[in-house]
Symmetry: C2
Subunit: 254 residues, 2 copies
C-alpha cells in the first residue's frame, strides 16, 4: 500500500514549535505537505480572506516534507492547499499542535480547529491537536506517542463524512497522562473583561481580556477529562442544526 498523503497546517504560523513537532510525527507515517500561515492566526476562527489577495511561497526547511508558507488564515491555507498546491486530495489533514487548549467552546474561536473543520467540509479526514500550554517553548514531546496512535487509528478507522476530531492534550509528562478519552464539548464560556487604556492622544482603547468559566462538571466533558489527566477527543461536526428544537420551532411557525 502506498504511503498516505498528509496535509499539515496550524494557526500559530509555519515556524511554531507545535507544528514542527506535528510534522516530525507525520513524517514517520506518510508523505507530508505543509501549508501553514506565515504569521500567527490565533483566534481567527473560520475567517476567510475575501477582500484582499493571498499568496504562498515554498520554503526550504529541514525534513522530507514540503513546506509552503501562506499569507492567509488557517482556513485559507486549507483552501489554497487543495486548489493550488497538493497533487491530489490528501488522505488526512492534521492541524496544530496548537500552543494552548482548544477544548470546550474554544473550538469555535480556534483557527486550528477551523482548519480541521474546513478539511471536513471538503470531505476529508481531519484532526486538530492542541496542547494545554500557551508557551512558545511548550514541551510537545510528551504527547508524541499518543498523537501518533490517534493518527494511525484515524487512518485505519475513517470517520463518516461530516465529522472531524478535536484532540486536546493536558500539560503533563508522558507517564502522568492517564490515557485517551472520547468526550463531548464542555459547556463553558469566556467572561469578558476588556482592559481599558488611554493612548498618547487621550483616546481610549481596549485589549480583549477575561477569564475562562467552565460550567460543566459532567464526567464525559472534555474539560473534565483534561483536568483528570486524560487526552480528550471530541468528534466535531459542522451541521449546526439544532434538530432537537425543530419541533417546537415548527409549532411556533405553523
Amino acid at each position: 500500500m502506498s504511503k498516505p498523503l498528509i496535509l499539515v497546517t496550524n494557526d500559530d504560523g509555519i515556524t511554531a514549535p507545535g507544528i514542527r513537532k506535528l510534522i516530525s510525527i507525520v513524517n514517520q507515517i506518510g508523505d507530508v505537505i505543509v501549508v501553514a500561515p506565515n504569521s500567527p492566526q490565533s483566534g481567527k476562527g473560520h475567517a476567510i480572506t475575501i477582500n484582499s489577495t493571498l499568496s504562498f511561497e515554498e520554503l526550504n526547511l529541514d525534513g522530507p516534507q514540503k513546506d509552503f508558507s501562506c499569507s492567509g488564515t488557517p482556513v485559507d491555507c486549507v483552501k489554497m492547499a487543495l486548489d493550488k498546491i497538493l497533487p491530489r486530495k490528501p488522505d488526512l489533514v492534521v492541524s496544530g499542535i496548537n500552543h494552548g487548549a482548544n477544548s470546550s467552546i474554544n473550538v469555535i474561536y480556534s483557527g486550528t480547529m477551523s482548519a480541521a473543520v474546513e478539511a471536513g467540509v471538503e470531505g476529508l479526514q481531519a484532526i486538530g491537536f492542541s496542547l494545554s500550554d500557551l508557551k512558545w517553548e511548550a514541551d510537545f514531546d510528551q504527547a508524541e506517542d499518543f498523537i501518533k496512535d490517534i493518527i494511525l487509528k484515524t487512518l485505519e478507522n475513517p470517520m463518516p463524512k461530516g465529522v472531524v476530531l478535536n484532540v486536546n492534550i493536558p500539560k503533563l509528562n508522558k507517564e502522568e497522562i492517564k490515557g485517551i478519552k472520547v468526550c463531548k464539548q464542555a459547556n463553558a464560556k469566556w467572561e469578558e473583561s476588556f482592559d481599558e487604556r488611554t493612548n498618547p492622544h487621550g483616546r481610549k482603547y481596549y485589549w480583549l481580556s477575561g477569564y475562562f468559566n467552565n460550567m460543566d462538571e459532567s464526567e464525559d466533558a472534555d474539560e473534565t477529562a483534561l483536568t483528570n489527566g486524560y487526552i480528550s477527543i471530541v468528534p466535531v461536526k459542522f451541521d449546526l442544526t439544532a434538530y432537537e428544537y425543530m419541533n417546537e420551532l415548527n409549532s411556533i411557525y405553523k
Copy 2:
C-alpha cells in the same frame, strides 16, 4: 411591561443599508443600541481580535437608537457591547440584515451569524438575518413584515439556551414570498477555484473564488426552501459534538 433592550450588529459595517433597515424595524419594538463594525467584516467567521487593540466611538445618526462604531470583528462587537457599552444584558441580539445569503454551510464563514452565535454563547436570544442579494442597494423593504414577525415571535417564545436562529430571505417581492419555513442546514459547500494573477514584480497572487455546490435536495433543507420562495429559519447550536459518532469512537479507543 417595559420595552425590550435590543442590540443590533452585522458584518457589512455600521453604514450598510441592511443594518440601517434592521434598526428601523427594531426601533418599532424596543430600545435599540447598535454596536457594529466600522468597516466590512464579511467572511470573518468567529474571528476575535487577540493580537491588536480595539476601540469604539458613538456616532450621531438619525433615529432614536444609539449607534456605536467598533474597530473589530462582529464577534468583537458583541463582546464589547456586553462588557463596555450596554447598560444591562439585552433581551435580544439581532445581526444583519446581511447583504447576501448565509444559508447552508455559509453559517460557519459568516460574521453575521457568528455575532448571533456569540450572543447565544452569552446565554442571550439571538437571530441573524440575511437577504439573498449581495448588492449594496438590495431591496430590504420586501421582507420587513416577515422580519418583524420573527422578532416578535422570538420575544414571545424564548429559545432554550444554546440555540440561535439563522434566517435567510429569498430575493423576491413581498407578495411572491410564500411564507416562513423551519429548516435544517443544507449539505452544501464551495468548490474553490482561486483566481491567479501576477503582480508588477512578477510574483503570483490569488483571489479566493469558486462556486456554490448544493448537494442537498431534501425538502426541509434551507437551500430548498429559499429556492421554493420561502424564508428559511434554521435553529443553530454551538455544541459541535457529533454525539451520533461517540459510540463508534469509544469502540476505537476502548
